[in-house]
């Protein structure tokens, strides 16, 4: 029965094995080193300092202690119209 779906079987095997080899290559290449820094690569200093209205006071104090005084958010800060604008 194998020839019935040979193309699918080969493609499936390739799509399973090739990622495994790629994973090995990426590992040896060091692309998974320092994952903590990798997880923070999307942030800028300001991301840690914006005041977030939904935040618990304890979280806010912790961020202030770690990053200094917090800054006020601006319209569009989190993607969308400012809450005050309802036109």
């Amino acid at each position: 029965m194998l020839p019935t779906s040979l193309a699918v079987a080969i493609a499936t095997a390739a799509m399973t094995l090739v990622p495994a080899l790629l994973l090995l290559w990426a590992w040896r290449r060091g692309l998974f080193r320092d994952l903590d820094a990798q997880s923070r690569v999307i942030f800028e200093p300001r991301d840690w300092r914006i005041e977030r209205p939904w935040e618990a006071p304890s979280d806010r104090l912790a961020r202030e202690a770690a990053h200094g005084p917090l800054e006020s958010p601006q319209p569009g800060e989190w993607g969308g119209a400012g809450r005050s604008d309802t036109a």
Binding site: M1, L2, T4, S5, A7, V8, A9, A11, T12, A14, M15, T16, P19, A20, L22, L23, L31, F32, D34, L35, D36, A37, Q38, S39, R40, V41, I42, F43, E44, P45, R46, D47, W48, R49, I50, R52, P53, W54, E55, A56, E71, P73, Q74, P75, G76, E77, W78, G79, G80, A81, G82, R83, D85, T86, A87
Partner: protein, 511 residues
């Protein structure tokens, strides 16, 4: 992080306001950024601006067209005499046109736009090969349009999700998609960031997987049952390896970015990506449970479907635990509202898919409306919601001013949320009722259809709500992009006020 040596100037700069080097420095210091960081960010956004906005506009056009086709097809299921005199609006054509318009025209174009914007930001450089990417987007759009027109005219390859004629639409889609992929890979190859964030893996993976799937799916020599196997190999994998990969990649960026905290477990995100890469390709055959295929293929597919718990749970834990305790943020961020709900839908649809693959469940749900509801949880509640959230975040940063109306955002969100909820609940219920009736030898076939009617009417109502939500969003996008004098009443988003940086004089002084 050093600034690029050869800044790119072009029509973006000509079209936009300019900042002097000193102004950039002033903005950067007021925002707690090094001027170089701000510069890299602004250049990244400016480089992808034209391609991304064009793709978003095209995607929205297809979204409107596609949902209108969907509404027509939905009405025909409970009112079969509706629009029967026009051949190109018969069910077989209009339903297929709907599928192509929303999955390729809308979701694919919107997610490619998102990827073109995200990638330069993720690797801290400009988008490379902008003309190549734009050319690719144009060809891709021509391919989609040609495919849909051909399908409406009755010219189809006859494989689900692959109906667009291979010799008409195929070359445009292959070359267009290839050019966009080339631009993305070139960008990554030129990266200035040491690290590859997990979203980069998802986006690059998607652009490697899709051509392989298309090639196998469109291979022109299949006969009989081979076609079914190849068909579902493509149709299921295009969800997991293309739409899901791009959407999860986007969610991994927008959720932590908006919340201002890293994802819950970065290690788990790596596990999630690589387990998806290794296990997902076996899944498609579970659509053919009970069909005339080798038993080993079906069984392997069912096992792989259960294996999908690993990437799904890994991704679910990550995305949900990042938000836990911060659900209040959803009130403030439309982006987060859409993307977080999309992430929930991803978890739901994936687990639902794994259970539906089991023979005992499939026995009831196969050949029923359940499958249609399931695919809408995936393609709409997950993929489309992430795409909406991404657009709410990206567009203000490209046009330099805020979305003009919070009210329109609320209308959009409420309409599409209500629409998809009604759609999925009603159709899932109708699917189970239909499946149970079909299994009962004492129940006439016609009765199994009659029992689905309330669900089909509700589906049409839900679909009309979705269409209304899309029209609201398209109108909002239009006034955002085309009538800035209205939109500029609000202040621009932070430190992307005027994305183009330098006057020629300032640039000369900088050198």
């Amino acid at each position: 992080m050093s600034a690029p040596d050869t800044p790119r100037f072009g029509s973006v700069e000509a079209a936009r306001g300019r900042l002097t080097l000193e102004e950039v420095g002033a903005i950067a210091s007021s925002r707690g950024l090094a001027p170089e960081d701000l510069e890299v960010r602004l250049r990244a956004d400016a480089s992808s601006r034209r391609a991304v906005l064009a793709l978003f506009a095209v995607a929205l056009g297809w979204l409107i067209i596609g949902t209108i086709f969907g509404d027509i097809a939905s009405i025909k299921l409970h009112s079969p005499d509706f629009l029967t005199r026009t051949s190109w609006l018969t069910f077989g054509r209009v339903r297929t046109a709907h599928l192509h318009a929303v999955n390729y025209g809308w979701a694919t174009a919107a997610l490619i736009g998102m990827a073109l914007w995200l990638m330069p930001r993720l690797v801290h450089t400009e988008l490379k090969g902008v003309p190549i990417a734009i050319g690719g987007a144009v060809l891709f759009t021509i391919g989609i349009a040609a495919g849909i027109v051909a399908v409406l005219a009755g010219w189809s390859d006859g494989m689900e999700w692959l109906e667009a004629p291979r010799w008409l639409a195929g070359p445009f889609l292959v070359i267009g998609g290839g050019l966009i992929g080339l631009s993305l890979f070139w960008t990554v190859a030129s990266r200035k960031s040491e690290h590859l964030y997990v979203s980069v893996w998802y986006i690059l993976g998607a652009f490697i997987w899709f051509p392989m799937l298309y090639l196998v799916g469109k291979w022109p020599t299949y006969v009989g049952v081979e076609s079914a196997a190849a068909n579902w190999f493509f149709a299921h994998n295009v969800l997991g390896f293309w739409l899901t990969a791009l959407s999860v990649g986007g969610a991994y960026y927008f959720i932590p970015k908006v919340l201002g905290r890293p994802i819950y477990s970065y290690q788990l995100s790596i596990v999630g990506f690589w387990s998806l890469a290794m296990f997902y390709s076996l899944n498609g055959m579970h659509h053919l449970v009970g069909g005339p295929l080798p038993t080993w293929m079906i069984t392997t597919s069912i096992v792989a479907s259960v294996f999908m718990f690993i990437p799904v749970v890994a991704t679910a834990i990550n995305l949900h635990m990042t938000v836990v305790g911060r659900f209040g943020a959803l009130r403030y961020s439309p982006t987060l509202r859409f993307v977080v709900l999309g992430a929930f839908a991803y978890t739901a649809v994936s687990l639902q898919g794994s259970f539906t693959a089991l023979r005992e469940v499939n026995r009831v749900t196969h050949f029923t409306h359940w499958t249609v509801a399931h695919s809408h949880v995936g393609a709409y509640a997950f993929v489309t919601f992430v795409a909406f959230g991404a657009m709410y975040y990206i567009v203000p940063r490209l046009v330099g001013h805020e979305w003009p109306s919070e009210r329109l955002i609320r209308w959009h969100f409420n309409l599409v949320l209500a629409g998809i909820a009604i759609y999925v609940v009603a159709l899932s219920w109708a699917g189970v009722a239909q499946g149970l009736a079909l299994l009962d030898p004492a129940t006439p076939f016609q009765e199994s259809l009659r029992r689905t009617l309330p669900g089909l009417w509700a589906r049409t109502f839900g679909g009309l709500l979705l269409t209304a939500g899309h029209l609201v969003f398209a109108y909002h996008f239009w006034i955002m992009v085309r009538t800035p004098e209205r939109a500029r009443r609000t202040r621009p988003p932070f430190h992307e006020a005027r994305p183009v940086l330098y006057t020629a004089e300032a640039e000369a002084a900088r050198r």
